[in-house]
């Protein structure tokens, strides 16, 4: 295209970018559609689209006497902090969204948060459990529990249910989520009278864990805790079993994606992990969501999908309460959320962006995620 053509188009582009929201509620979604946890990005996108289409099929949202159509702008952050920052900038400055859902991993949610905070755009991260993401921020919320709680739940399961006296941990030191939950587990397990037999690390994208696992094997722990993401855990379990480690294996909510079993197969059987919800739940609202999701996308929604759906509903409700699709009003309405009933539990923000929610322990049996027990804070 020639230079003159570009110059002629420029005002049009600017006009398009500056056009006010009009009759729609425009919400940005930052999801890892490609990269290491792309399977989770896909379920995030699925859940967001489901929430959007549902709201629009019902005629739209009633906000301050007007009926607004919902529009989600879904962008790929590749599960990289630097790309997440770019996505947040684009959503805020170019798409002019009034709120952002995402990103999912803690390291990415944490990279986007300062941008949302300084722009005064409310951010709801569905799945980021690291406490630092919301700390000291007014515009950042999450739909999930935080790792200090989750780490405690797993430590109690190890010491109580499994009667483990010694534990070993292998975690990704380059990722906020993994590191945070590993440290909480270490402290909580010690408080319960257990001893740490090994605390080993690796770096994101490593695939050979045999050196660390051999070291762990020599320490003979009663239980092995792998608070890592679903795309790496099966390899770690496989390598551990091949090296002759027979101890039961535990994990966190980073495990919850169908890829875990697809990649690991039978080797994952018998392992347990903490999670935000179980598809076995008897809650009718959650069952309705699971049925709709299954009918449209052909798979059981993982926790990230359920939490994304909850985050969307939270924002819809906040828009209704606020009576206008304006970021600051949305933020205030969100902060005042109390007793919101979602797929993954009840959400109340008591002055911070962290809801107080329960967790469940899930056991893997014949490749299926089976509800084991529920733990309330």
């Amino acid at each position: 295209m020639t230079k003159t053509a570009w110059t002629a188009l420029l005002p049009l582009l600017l006009l398009g970018a500056c056009k006010p929201g009009g009759n729609e509620l425009k919400i940005g979604v930052s999801a890892p559609l490609t990269g290491d946890i792309s399977a989770l990005g896909q379920s995030t996108k699925n859940a967001a689209l489901l929430a959007q289409d549902e709201a629009n099929a019902a005629g739209g949202l009633s906000v301050g006497g007007k009926t607004l159509k919902v529009r989600f702008v879904v962008e790929d952050d590749e599960n990289k902090p630097e790309s997440t920052a770019t996505v947040f900038q684009k959503l805020i400055n170019q798409d002019r969204v009034v709120a952002i859902i995402g990103s999912q991993s803690s390291k990415c949610a944490n990279a986007g948060a300062p941008i949302a905070e300084s722009a005064g755009i409310p951010q709801v991260t569905p799945w980021a459990t690291n406490p630092n993401v919301t700390k000291g921020r007014k515009f950042v919320f999450r739909a999930c529990f935080i790792d200090p709680f989750q780490g405690k739940v797993v430590a109690q399961f190890a010491a109580g249910r499994l009667k483990a006296r010694t534990a070993a941990v292998l975690y990704d030191i380059a990722s906020d989520y993994n590191k945070g939950i590993a440290e909480v587990f270490r402290d909580e397990f010690a408080k319960l009278g257990g001893t740490l037999a090994g605390f080993e690390t690796y770096n994101t994208k490593d695939t050979d864990f045999s050196a660390q696992l051999t070291k762990i094997k020599a320490a003979k722990p009663d239980v092995l805790f792998l608070p890592n993401y679903f795309n790496e855990v099966p390899l770690q379990v496989q390598q551990a079993r091949k090296l002759g480690i027979t101890a039961p294996i535990l994990g966190g909510d980073g495990w919850d994606n169908p890829e875990l079993v697809k990649l690991g197969g039978g080797v994952m059987d018998g392992a347990s992990f903490s999670n935000h919800y179980s598809p076995d739940t008897s809650d009718p609202g959650a069952q309705a969501f699971i049925a709709k999701y299954k009918a449209r996308f052909g798979s059981v929604p993982d926790a990230a999908a359920a939490l994304t759906y909850d985050a969307a509903q939270l924002l819809f409700k906040a828009a209704g309460t606020a009576g206008k699709a304006e970021p600051r009003a949305l933020r205030d309405a969100l902060a005042a959320t109390s007793g919101f009933k979602g797929v993954t539990g009840t959400i109340t923000y008591g002055g911070s962006g962290d809801p107080v929610k329960g967790a469940v322990m899930i056991r893997i049996e014949n490749g299926r995620f089976v509800f084991d027990s529920a733990v309330n804070p």
Binding site: N203, K205, S210, T214, K217
Partner: protein, 296 residues
């Protein structure tokens, strides 16, 4: 004691895979003085070729599947050289390096679009039962696939050594490495020698990819990090030297594994690469590399 043996076997498996990749870097550098930055991605494609073959022909045993994946990847290597590198052979060095990086990015995205971005694993065609006699004699848990990977890799390297040092083709390759301007004057087909070098290097990388996909995992971007590691191993050994690439690979894997085993897993890369920098300070052209001397 059994932990030491176990760790050495861990290092041997990792080193074997590094070596299969590092050889391609070294051989290509030897003949056309190009650091082929697409080589890590050729390794990745080799792994995915193995995956697709394994999924398509579920009956195919490993001894048929691996040569087939190696053949396909060798053809890819030759095609890349023909299409992207040959015309640039006389251009300035930087153009070739940039092209190689571009080819790498192209391959990553091609696989991402064609196969998908998820982490995959080749359904294992190797016995994963523990080796009983090692268990009994030393108390070491080693599965058969680990031993197979180590020995087949070593056998491939021995085969390569024989080709380079005992055949006419190998002589031609070494001659091209020595002086690629004079060799055509002796009636050697330069293009063919270079094509064969790319074919062999890519085939070895594919063997590494197929092993890697079974022992560890595959994803479209795996070639970047592993490619760097293998490249560094080749430099440590002395780039251009076949024995050097193998030595450097086992050395790098050994230092990595032993750092984790006896120091700390936090320091793995720091100590491994710090040591390697020290090594290069003492031997600037690598352990077995020849110092570059320019004839005036």
């Amino acid at each position: 004691m059994e932990t030491v043996v176990q760790q050495l076997l861990n290092a041997a498996q990792l080193g074997a895979v590094y070596a299969l990749i590092a050889l391609g870097y070294s051989m290509v550098y030897g003949v056309i003085r190009l650091i082929n930055f697409a080589h890590g991605d050729i390794f990745m494609v080799g792994g995915f070729a193995g995956l697709l073959l394994a999924l398509r022909f579920t009956w195919m045993p490993l001894w048929a599947l691996m040569p087939l994946a190696m053949l396909l990847t060798a053809l890819l290597g030759v095609a890349i050289e023909r299409v992207a590198y040959r015309r640039l052979r006389q251009a300035q060095r930087m153009s070739l390096v940039i092209t190689a990086l571009g080819v790498g990015i192209f391959l990553e995205n091609l696989v991402r679009l064609g196969v998908g971005p998820e982490t995959r694993q080749i359904p294992s065609r190797m016995p994963t039962t523990p080796v009983a006699w090692l268990q009994d004699a030393l108390g070491v848990s080693v599965t058969w696939d680990k031993l197979l990977i180590i020995f087949v890799s070593l056998a491939l390297m021995a085969l390569l050594w024989a080709v380079v040092h005992r055949t006419l083709l190998g002589t031609a390759m070494r001659a091209v490495a020595d002086d690629k301007d004079v060799v055509p004057l002796m009636g050697v087909n330069l293009n063919r020698v270079i094509a064969v070098t790319f074919a062999i290097g890519s085939a070895l990388a594919a063997a590494g990819g197929v092993f890697f996909g079974q022992a560890y995992s595959l994803d479209p971007y795996m070639g970047i990090d592993l490619g760097w590691k293998a490249f560094i191993a080749a430099v440590i050994g002395g780039i251009g030297s076949i024995e050097g690439a193998v030595l450097g690979s086992f050395l790098l894997a050994g230092v990595e594994v032993l750092t984790v085993a006896y120091l700390s897993s936090n320091l793995k890369n720091g100590i491994a690469f710090g040591l390697l920098i020290l090594l290069l300070l003492i031997w600037p052209s690598g352990l077995l590399g020849r110092p570059a001397s320019k004839k005036v």
